[in-house]
Amino acid sequence: MKIEKKFKNLIKEARKTILFKEEKEGINLNLVKFIKENPVVRNPILERPLYNPETKSSFKIIMNYLFEKRMRAFAFLAIAILLFGGAGISFAAQGSLPGDPLYPVKVGFNEKVLRMVLFSDEAKAKYDIQLVQLRLQEAEKVAVDKGLNSAKTAELKNLLDQHIADAKSHLGNIKNSNAADIIANIDSELESSLAAHSQILGKIADVQKGQDKTAAFVKNILSDVQEKTDKARIDIKNNYSKLSGQSSADILSSAEGKLKSAGNKIKEVANFIENKKSNVSESAYNAAKNNLKIANDEISDGQVLLDAKSYNDAFDQFQAAEQTAQKTKIYVQQGANLKIELNIPEIQIKKDADSENSDSSNINQQDNTDQNRINRINKNISNQVEINPQIKNIIN
């Protein structure tokens, strides 16, 4: 009896094991993002519920029948907008773009309501970074449709400023022991998004050059995004200095955490590229896959640095791999969404001593952060490293 009781108590303790609030919110955010990128495929089977409840009332069966026909659903939506205003409008506003009558509902109401369900500063900061990405996607969509004007440009720039300021303010409130890692991760994501979208906007500006008066507005947003990218790079440099001030055990743990998250990001992007294969050109698909191989090389380089106990540089290297994968994802995503050929840039790391003198106009060597990283690798890596076999399998 005593044994049973002891076992029961142990089980009781084991059942207290749960996700931390921040972890649960973090996964939730990733899940929402994934759902958005992989929406429900419309087919007749989906008219059925997602999963069968144990019991199904006749009321539910009748309701399912009533709402099976799309026309009735549309009619219902129209009535909702007419009768109930708020909820219907809010729903209809979700897909709106700058300049649309419902756009202020989307940015002024829907997005603020969604923010209210997030508790931690980390989750709120991540949410703000996602809003930055969304604004940039909207800017690109309107630019491709040649719909930019001074009002829309000013609105988008203001919103970008606001989201970045909000994210920074939440990051400033994070005081726990992982604060440095969290801030580094979020700043890195912001920089990747800004840099990738800056490339895309640059491409759109090039295509529209001299064709249309809206091209000037594209250039205006582009220069704003480039400025923000530069600021984000400075933040990353500052984070790097802060990280250097930690104990070596802390830096090691940060580097190991970054290794894991970079590996996961590469896996995620590899799956994403495969899913979007039919929506992008063959050359874009191949360039994206090549970029992932480069990200994988960066991981391998980082592992060498980790083994050499150069934890700071290893962290930096894993972060670079994560950024390479993130940027690749954005190129593929927008290439598919905007239906334009983006000529996905191939991010190359030269390991020879001449790399410092490489062409500064080359987008692959465009910033000092990358250059410093390359120089550090040159210093630390003498032998060719092997591709991490686990990730190689995913990419091939």
Binding site: I3, L19, V41, Y51, Q390
Partner: protein, 170 residues
């Protein structure tokens, strides 16, 4: 609300309801908090991928456990088994409440020691039966076993647990 939105909402509700349980299941099968977190996320991503293609699921809870179990099996094939010392060395932190951390540390260590000393097949059923609180029918569907086999495994697994606890008492 459109059908699409309803399905997304239903799925996110399932996440809120079952994510802790799936995480716990993963944790007590692999004893690595970070990896358990990754496996939990992977479980829900795979589940959504399946459901978004219009495929139907009768019991979402059992379905999630089945995916989680497949992820654990796939990964355990790639990894060597881990000793209790390694688990402790990596840091045992399965509790959420800092105030309870010290007292729970010892019972946590004990349950890990017991579960870790069971053979894989018994460990799975003991975790599912007692920690996950799944019915024998659900365990049978997750493991693709008959209910009778599951009863036998639970019984034998519990006998082993009892022996370990008796040894500790001596």
């Amino acid at each position: 609300m459109s059908d699409k939105d309803k399905k997304e909402k239903q799925f996110l509700e399932a996440y809120n309801k079952f994510s802790d349980a799936i995480f716990r299941h993963c944790y007590y099968c692999i004893f690595d908090r970070e990896e358990a977190k990754d496996f939990t996320q992977e479980t829900f991503l795979r589940a959504w991928k399946y459901l978004s293609e219009g495929k139907e699921v009768k019991n979402i809870r059992a379905f999630l456990y089945k995916i989680a179990n497949n992820i654990i099996i796939d990964n355990s094939r790639k990894k060597k088994s881990i000793s209790l010392d390694q688990i402790i060395e990596k840091g045992f932190s399965p509790k959420i409440d800092e105030r309870e951390k010290t007292e729970n540390y010892f019972s946590g260590k004990e349950i890990i020691k017991i579960i870790n000393s069971l053979d894989g097949k018994y460990r799975d059923v003991i975790v599912m039966k007692y920690i996950d609180d799944l019915s024998s029918k659900e365990i049978a569907s997750i493991l693709d076993e008959t209910e009778n086999n599951v009863y036998v495994m639970i019984h034998r697994g519990f006998d082993k647990v009892r022996k370990i606890l008796e040894e500790q008492e001596k």
